[in-house]
Structures are given as C-alpha cells and as structure tokens.
C-alpha cells in the first residue's frame, strides 16, 4: 500500500526533486545524438515560452514604473503602504501557519498510531488519508459552510440541544478549518513514510534505556521523522498560501492570493499591484521551499535497518485502543464531512437554516448534464491534453537526465521543477499579460484562446508527471537498453522498442494522476477563462457556488468532479499494480 501511496501522492517533496543523486550506471556511454539535442532544445523552448516568459513578465511589471517602464521599487512601497495588502499578507501567513498547526494535530497521532502500534484501523486510516486529496478544498467550501457555519447543521443542533454554537467557520478560522481537513494528508503521508523508515532498534534502544510513551515519541521518533514532517508541512503552507478560490468561496477576501485575483479582475491587467502581489506569492513559496531544504540539510536520517525483521508494533491496552478508535472516527467524520455535505447539497431542493435539506431532487444533475454539460466536456478535453503534454515532456526530461550526459539536462529538470514555486494565480496573470498583446491573424489575442488554459494547467502539473516518469525510468535497468544496442538497435529504436514499453505502466499512472489533478485545477483557470463556453468544470463550479440559486448545480458539478478524480485514482492504482505484476513476471 505504501509504495502505491507514494506513486499516487501528488505531493512532490521539495527536498528531493532532483534524481541526480542516484548512481548512473551508464556513466561511460557516449554521444548525444542529434535527436536528443533537438528534443532537449524543444523542451527548453516550451518551458521558456510558457513558464519562464510569463513569470518574467510578471516580475518585470512589478519592478517597473507603469507607463515608462523604468526600473523602480515604488510599486512595492505602495504595497507596503496599503493597509489592505499588509493586512492580507499577515492574514495569509496566519492562515497558512495555523493550517499547518491543525493539520499536524490531525496527522501526528494518526501517523504514529498506524506505524507503531498493532491497530486494526490502520488500513482505514490509510484510505481516509487519501479521501481529501480527491477533492480540492474549494469544491467543498460551501458545503462545509452549510454543515459547520453559524447556521449550519452542527450549530443548529448544538444550539437546540445545548444552547451554544461553535465558530469554526467564522472568517479566517473557516479557511483554516477547511484547509486543515483537506491538506493534513500531505503531512500524514510524508510523516508515515518517514516513521516507517526508522530502524526499529532506534526506538528500542531508547526503551531499553528507560524511555517510553510521549517522551519516546518526542525525543526519538519525531526528530528522526522530522524530514518527512517538514516536507509535508512546507507543502501545506505553500498550498494554503497560494489558494485563491477557497477563501473567496468562504467570503474571505483579505488574503493575499485572492487579492491578486480581485485586483486584476476588478481594476485590470495594467494595474501593477496584482503583479507585486504575485511576486510576493512567488517569494513566499521560494523562501518556504528553500527554508525547508535548509532545515533538512544533513538530516537525511533514513536508517532502514541492516537485517532484522519488520517493525515490532506495540500492543495497545483496551483503554488506549478505545481512545485510538475514537480519534480515528472523529478524523474520519471530519474528512468525510465535505463529501457528505456536497452530496447532500447536490440533491437538495432548498437547504438553508435547517440541519438537513428540506427536500431532495435530481434537477441539479439534469441541469449540469444538460445545458451545463460543456463544462464537463471542456474539462475532459483540457485535462486530457494537459496530461498528455505532461507525460510526453516529463518522460523526455527523465530520459535526458537519467540516460544521457547532455550538457544542461539538469537545467531542464530544474526548470520543470520550478513550476512548483509558481502559484496558479501568478501563472494565470503572467499568461494574460504576456500573451494578450500577441494577436493571431484575425486580431484574436492569444491569451483568450482555450488552448492557453490547457498549457497553463500542463505547466502546473508538470512536476508531478516528471516525478512519475523518474520513478518509472529508474526501475528499468540500463543493461536492458545496452542489450538492445548490443544487438544492433539504434538509440531511438531502443527508446521506442525497449524503454517506452517498459515505462508504460509508470507513465500511465503519471498520466492519470496528472489528469485527475488537472481536472480540478482552478487558480490559473480562474484568470484565463474568457467566456463561459470555454470554461472547465472547476470554473463552472466556482461561478455557480457564488449564488444560492446556483449552489445545487455547483454541488452536482463537484460530485461529478469527485467521481472523475476517484475513478482516475483507481485506474492509476490499477496501472501501477499491473506494471508491477508484469515486471515481477519478467524478472
């Protein structure tokens, strides 16, 4: 399960994106064929045009005077002098940090419980850990409001029975609550993997010397698993900081990423403030990644044991066991809440000021499958194209990095990985600004074409596909290729007849994961959709959720999105299983 989990996990750990540390067995292989050089140049060109240029444009606008183009810091001064922006900045920092805190509170006990104790619920925890990843937070935002808001289900019942209400969905707390529930699996997955990699003797030695219980966890297990925790926590921090749609759907506007969006859409693409905010967003992402990499430097404690059996899991007493189940069930309830809420909302006639909907109907589904079905068609088209682009480019970069000595190949890897540091809203703004001036024959600005949405999504998902490609290629022994060349196959024929067939399972899994996450991408899309007929499902959902009348249909779209993503995750699991079985038979 854990291996598959790693392949599924759409997180890319900042600390180890580079595969260059793996020893290259093909070290003495000669020659860069013209084909390889052409391929590398084509990928470089693609990344420069669709990633570097838009981001550079954003930076350029932020650091120059409006109109004259003279270099200046005056825009940043304006930013620092505007109360709204400063407040938004600190709100974003606060929300992101508190989300990390609450996500840790959810993830730490689950990770420790499932990796260190005999606990029957472990499989349940593993599965529930993945549920939130199927649905991005903005999808369930309105449903959570209806369940946990001031006049939501929980508070109506609490008020009736015990005469009090809880304010978990009020203002910034609502964003924190929603994000923590959605993003704690990133910490759970990374931390569990790190805990599993600790030699059991590390903790036994501590027990032997008199340590146990919480002290054992705090002094030994947690420090040794810290790299995994930091990787997960920094990812959560950046994701929350960059999220545009979730705060907006919870009616929280005073956060930085939403401000960038609001500024550009309300004042226009000539106003420098949106660009300044974008630069701040990138800086925060880069600083967080750099910080986490620095914290982790020299702390790769992977201490997989030399010999000896698996981890000796400790037994829980009856009381501890009851407590453990209580915790797991509570977390499970929280994790399922947005899903349940969304499902209820999608079938609800009216749901307002009551614990449950007044009545149930299929009308919302009829509506979204009828006149709103373009959203679904667009989503399938865009996500499919984006995933195909990602797998092609990711596979090519993985091949160039792992199998050739082409100068500058690490640069491609680095560029593709750098997409992680670019928030969706920034990429969207960059595309608007960089490609609005470029007009096609017929006078249509390039930025308004639907293909730009596809390209933005593809760039956003590229790091994930790249990781899948590395994983797939690293499992293929170089000697298999050498054998083909030895028997007379040229490099390109070897790639076609040996490498690609062997990578298919891994690439397929990468395709499906990219597809699934691309299908619910919103922040870049939000900037780039010019008219409703070009909009994908995530955009439709966002628009519909804005009005009480549209909520039902929005929820129905959300349910459809969740189903699409869930099916994809299942398929990708299947692809990985099958390719592993095939390899098992071959060897």
């Amino acid at each position: 399960m854990s291996d598959h989990a790693a392949a599924h996990d759409p997180s890319v750990r900042f600390a180890d994106t580079s595969p260059s540390r793996t020893p290259r067995r093909g070290g003495t292989r000669v020659a860069h064929s013209p084909g390889q050089i052409a391929l590398a140049l084509a990928i470089a060109l693609f990344l420069i045009v669709f990633l570097v240029a838009p981001v550079a444009t954003v930076a350029y606008v932020a650091f120059t005077e409006k109109g004259t183009g003279a270099p200046t810091l005056v825009n940043f001064l304006d930013f620092a002098r505007t109360d709204l922006f400063v407040r938004s900045f600190w709100n974003s920092v606060y929300v992101s940090a508190m989300t990390v805190v609450w996500a840790s509170v959810l993830a730490l006990p689950l990770a420790y419980l499932t990796t260190r104790f005999e606990f029957r619920g472990a499989a349940l925890v593993q599965t529930l850990g993945f549920l939130p990843l199927i649905m991005p937070p903005f999808v369930g935002a309105v449903a959570m409001q209806l369940l946990f808001g001031r006049n939501g289900t929980v508070n109506l019942l609490l008020d009736e029975w015990f005469d009090f209400k809880i304010g978990v969905m009020e203002g910034l707390n609502g964003v924190i609550f929603l994000q923590a529930i959605h993003y704690f699996p990133f910490i759970l997955i990374n931390l569990s993997a790190a805990l599993r990699n600790i030699d059991r003797a590390m903790e036994e030695a501590a027990q032997n010397l008199g340590s146990h219980g919480f002290r054992l966890f705090r002094r030994i297990a947690l420090p040794l698993a810290m790299p995994g925790y930091v990787a997960g926590a920094s990812l959560v921090f950046v994701k929350v900081f960059d999220d545009v749609a979730s705060p907006l759907l919870l009616n929280v506007k005073e956060m930085l990423a939403p401000q960038a969006y609001l500024r550009i859409t309300s004042i226009g693409i000539d106003d420098p403030m949106g660009y300044v905010i974008s630069v701040v967003l990138i800086a925060i992402a880069v600083v967080t990644m750099w910080g986490s990499a620095r914290v982790l430097k020299g702390k790769d404690y992977a201490t997989v044991q030399r010999g000896g059996g698996g981890l000796a899991r400790r037994r829980l007493t009856r009381g501890q066991s009851a407590l453990a189940y209580a915790v797991v069930l509570l977390v499970l309830a929280l994790v399922l809440a947005p899903h349940v809420g969304l499902l209820l909302l999608s079938f609800a006639t009216v749901w307002s000021f009551s614990p449950l909907p007044d009545g149930y109907t299929l009308a919302h589904y009829a509506r979204v499958l009828g006149d709103s079905s373009t959203y679904i068609k667009n989503t399938l088209l865009y996500a499919g194209l984006a995933a195909a682009i990602d797998v092609a480019i990711g596979g090519a970069i993985a091949y160039l990095v792992l199998r050739t000595r082409l100068p500058g190949r690490q640069m491609l890897d680095w560029l593709a990985g750098a997409a992680l540091a670019v928030p969706g809203v920034v990429l969207g703004i960059g595309y608007l600004r960089a490609f609005y001036g470029v007009t096609l024959p017929g006078g249509v600005p390039m930025a308004t074409l639907w293909i730009m949405i596809v390209l933005a999504i593809a760039i956003r998902r590229l790091p994930y596909a790249l990781r899948a490609a590395y994983a797939a290629l690293q499992q293929i022994s170089v000697s298999l290729e050498e054998a083909a060349e030895n028997l007379g196959a040229t490099k390109s024929r070897t790639v076609r007849r040996v490498v690609i067939p062997l990578m298919t399972g891994g690439l397929l899994a990468g395709f499906v994961t990219s597809f699934a996450t691309a299908a619910v991408e919103l922040s870049a899309v939000l900037m780039l959709v010019q008219n409703n007929s070009d909009a994908p499902l995530s955009y439709g959902l966002y628009v519909l959720m804005q009005t009480p009348a549209g909520r039902g249909a929005g929820a129905a779209l959300g349910v459809i999105a969740v189903v699409i993503v869930a099916i994809c995750m299942g398929l990708s699991q299947l692809a990985i299983d099958r390719s592993q079985r095939n390899r098992g038979l071959d060897i």
Partner: protein
Amino acid sequence: MSGTMSKAVSIDIRGVNLSYGATRILKGIDLSIRPGEFFAFLGPSGCGKTTLLRLIAGFAQAQTGQVLLDGQDVAGLPPWKRDVGMVFQSYALWPHMTVAKNVAFGLEERRLLRREINAKVAEALELVGLAAYADRRPAQLSGGQQQRVAVARTIAIEPKVLLLDEPLSNLDAKMRVSVRRELRALQQRLGLTTIFVTHDQEEANTICDRIAVMEAGTIRQVGTPMELYERPDNLFVAGFLGSANILDGKAVNGVFEVAGGARLPLPGGVQVPAGARLVFRPQHAALSITGALRGPVVHREFLGATVRYGVRVADSEILVDAPFQSGSDLHAVGDTVGIALPSERALYLAA
C-alpha cells in the same frame, strides 16, 4: 561506575515457549546464567538466539515461562523498567544527537541531576576511550567507534545485565579481533553478567565463559568452549563447533560397524545411543599403513602447520589432519592409505 558497580546478578530462564502466530520460535527453554558470567547464545540464523535475548530485554513476550533477574520475575515489566542494558546489532545510535547526548540519554530518562549526568557521561566515554569524541555526531565516527559509543551508552545507566546482539557483525575482520578483546576486558572490569549473541563460534569461543548452543528454538548443549568442543552431546553441536567427521554405522556386540564395512572395537563402558553415528575430529585421526578405515586419498590441502587429507572410505570423504614438518613425505592424491583412530577419540552421538 567501575568502582560503584553493584553486585552482579544471575539470569534464570524457566520453561519459556514463544510463538509468533503458528511459528514456534522458542521451545521449552531452560537456562541458568551465573552472576558475572560472560555467556554466549550461539547458533545459526533463525535458531531463536536473538529472540531469546529480546525476551530478556522485554522486546518479545513469551506465551509461557519465566525470566528471572536476580531471582525476580520480570515478565510483567516493560523494557523501560527492566534495567537491562542492550547493545543493538546496528548500534542504533541516534543520528540527531551528539555522542555525549546519546550517552546521556538513559541518565536523563532517569531524571538524574545534570551534574551527575555530565560526570557519568564523561566516565563512560573515558572507559571506552572516546572522551575526545563527545561532541561528534555518530555519522562522523568509524564503525568500531560507533560500537564503543553504543556500549558506553548502555553501561552508563549501570544496568543489571548487559546484552550484546551480534556486536561484531558490522565490523571488518581485523577490527573484530581487537574489539572482542576490548569487550572481554571491559566485562571483566565491570563484573557485569553479560550475554553475547552470535552465529560465529570463534567469537563465542574466544570471549565467553560458557556457551549455549541453539538450534531451531531449543538449547542443544550448555558448557564451556572446551567442553563443547571435546565432549559434544549431539551431532548438531559436534558439527557446529569445528570440523568433524560424521560416519553412519551401527553398534553390534561391542563393535561399531561403519557403513562400508570397517569395524571399530568399542572400549568397555562406552554407551552408544540409538541411531548414533561415529564422530571424530580430523586432528585426532592419523594416516597409517594399517587402520580399520582404508581408502584412496582424493584431496590434499596445505594449511601451514598441518596438511589436511581427504580420504574416500565407502561413500564418504574423511578428513584427516597430519602435522607438517619440512622434509616429511606427503601422501599423493591416489595413494591408498589407512586411517588410525584411537578409540578414546571416537564419539558416538545421536542427532
């Protein structure tokens, strides 16, 4: 601590049975280890020796039986309340702490005063000769030094007994010889009851007072290294310690008939158990013109002080060691030779 060492304690294991699911790991183990003894659990991998050690440390739970330290049953105590020091095979030094922090850990868990902790850490590191390395990280030390840190960390808490789980297995061959001497010297100085787990008979023979030879979850024999070598109780012990010739046959009327025809007279008073086989060491036999066992030399190895011959008798090859002196004539491969075996050197052992 060397001066303040409390008296050494005995370890008694009574009627221990331990299974993981349907797999029986330990079967009816009974064992008494004397205070201050350096004791070895010796056996091939999978024989249960490490499990028995972990049982004493509290990391494994037996279904039946008792573990007594100094006469006290510790079965109900968790590992952290046993005061049983264990050195792990992988050393298990915590990479996020310095050497001094590693050694201080157990003392901190015992809530000692900082002043006492510092003194005891210094003393323990002094004892293993690593006082100068206190501020290093484990990763900056060699394998042998890491092992000494692991020992220092364990003895710093002044445990009742010391358990060593294959402590030499991660060291290279040269280091092993010096480290095992150090371990022996340290144990003698501390007077600690110590159990050493190993699959290497040489390690066990060279540093331990007594050895329990284990096979498939049972103890086959307990004794000093010399006793086990000279008077093995059974074929397993005979074959596991040193090389031995083992020949099928049966006892008839005061004579042992070896499969293939040779007959060895049994001295009066020798009991031959049912299903017994003839066992003798290569250096206890000699090549001679006469001899009950005869056959061609099929193989010759020069070992320095001795020459080892392989002689085919019936279906088996018998090894015989002859002392080597320069100028002496050697038998060639193909020569037919006889093997003389003093009857007091012949052992008749069952499985």
